[in-house]
Symmetry: C2
Subunit: 315 residues, 2 copies
């Protein structure tokens, strides 16, 4: 299968390239940042540099790639970035998605689209409505999730109105080796790795430790994407573990794995202005449709993430 | 008060100019189509021709107008138009709203914004969830309402994140003299007027007559907008009659008022592909906050609409 990936240079994109190429698929994709492309350049058929917001050049790229399927990963996914520059977040997260939907509608309506939404579209929980299912209403609680909820609704309308073959996946937080330290678990892992290597001051700076989130290993996530592509699944699906882990427990596990002496300090700048205390989402619908279940235990994910940071910091 | 109206040349815009000028406010506004501006040109301080999607020229216009308040009416509001050209609908209905929100955030954060959403953001009803309140989740059922629900969510985030002074109004269908015949009641009224004047074939072509909708006279709508502006109200409010009228009853009333001999034919092209059988919305929150209640009885609205068409057709 010829698969085109947007945001191919990102955390998920890199893992997805490996997953798909290993399974014999032909991969190309769009990148925006040109750092560190060697590894995916070696695996992908072709990489295109471009901006999702520029529909003219995006159309040319897709006309040339003629994919069987598109996995649309590219987004401003860091919540504070969307809050501080909302127009850019809307233009990329919604406008970029519309550009892809329009290319499919106009140029190649048989393209299978896997649109990566987020479980954050469901917003806050009163506790009684958990786990969120695909029927839970969208009540985005911050600017980032408003942009994603809008793109999710747009994809839904394109699917029903034009009978497009769209799978909307609403994944939980994903973690694992290679994630930006903008995200909480990777930030912890980097700081724990530094402490373990005797770098820095042995102090971990953290945000809200009481929040509970649904975490998946990125390698489980990309395996789900491959199964959705191979089975040509369409519709809306949560992608989660079905349970919530407390952030403080994750930090404790990382410290335990590292065996280092560490003190923890709350850093107000790391507290999100609008926070959601607990989220976890059901995964029954996707498991029933695709056979996917998460396979990598949390402890293994944390070990690998820590090792990845240690390797990077030693260089 | 200096009020800037987008979509000032539209059905609601024209009535709003009259309402605001009569109450002593200074009105300016943006128009896109330049037909028939004489009446509002005589009342408004200044009219600017422009395209909401062009943020550079919109910013220049708003910098020059420096309004105390903006009423953002401009939208692709005809459902089939949004379905057949979704990109344009998204760019105007969401992108145009973002351009206004960004101008306010960056250039004049004390501007009071009255953003006109729609009760269609609530989507279909299972009957048991009526009337829709402001707490009802947004479940848009067509492309038009998806664009409006997205803009509604964007306005909500700008309000909470940047403490902007935004009133989001979610009005029911509005009807009255001057409405485009793209909308059902005006289409009926035109056809009934033609029959009454002996023009055409005496046949009324209609879509789905069993649908039930919440209708407000446009003059009640613009009075609500004036009250929201004058009282500087912020937050999210339904604007409806609190009850649903059957479309077939409205047609019967129009025929009765006209006293003409008319036959009714169902025209498949007038049936919306995605239809919502019944909608009505609560108006308690806005009534409690502003003192507004609808004052014009339906029969008066229909008489005036019919008279307006007769006057137009006689010319």
């Amino acid at each position: 299968m010829r698969v085109f990936i947007t945001g191919i240079e990102g955390f998920v994109g890199r893992h997805l390239v490996m997953e798909l190429v290993k399974a014999g698929h032909e991969v190309s994709g769009l990148y925006f940042d040109k750092m560190d492309l060697d590894e995916i350049e070696a695996l992908a058929e072709r990489l295109y540099r471009g901006d999702l917001r520029d529909s003219v050049s995006l159309n040319q790229i897709l006309d040339s790639a003629r994919p069987d399927a598109i996995v649309h990963l590219a987004a401003i996914s860091f919540v504070p970035a969307a809050s501080s520059d909302p127009r850019t977040a809307w233009d990329i997260n919604l406008g970029g998605t519309l550009n892809i939907l329009e290319w499919i509608r106009v140029a190649k309506p048989d393209t299978h689209l896997l649109f990566v939404s987020t479980s954050e579209v469901y917003g806050r929980s009163d506790g009684g409505d958990l786990p969120f299912t695909e029927e839970t209403p969208l009540r985005p609680a911050n600017m980032y999730s408003a942009t994603k909820a809008s793109a999710d609704m747009a994809a839904d309308q394109y699917r029903s109105l034009f009978s497009l073959r769209i799978a909307t996946l609403r994944p939980a937080n994903h973690i694992g080796p290679g994630q930006s330290e903008n995200f909480v678990v990777s930030s912890f892992a980097r700081q724990v790795a530094e402490a373990a290597l005797g770098l820095g001051d042995g102090v971990i700076r953290v945000g809200n430790l009481s929040a509970m989130r649904d975490f998946l290993d990125v390698r489980d996530v990309v395996r789900a994407y491959r199964l959705v592509l191979e089975q040509q699944i369409t519709g809306i699906f949560n992608l989660g573990s079905g349970k919530a882990e407390r952030i403080s427990d994750i930090l404790d596990s990382l410290v335990e794995i590292a065996g280092a002496r560490i003190s923890v300090v709350v850093d107000k700048e790391r507290l999100r202005p609008v926070d959601v205390p607990i989220i976890f989402i059901s995964r029954e619908k996707l498991s029933a449709e695709s056979g996917w279940t998460p396979e990598i235990p949390l402890i293994k994910t944390l070990e690998d993430t820590l090792k990845c940071w240690k390797d990077k910091l030693r260089k």
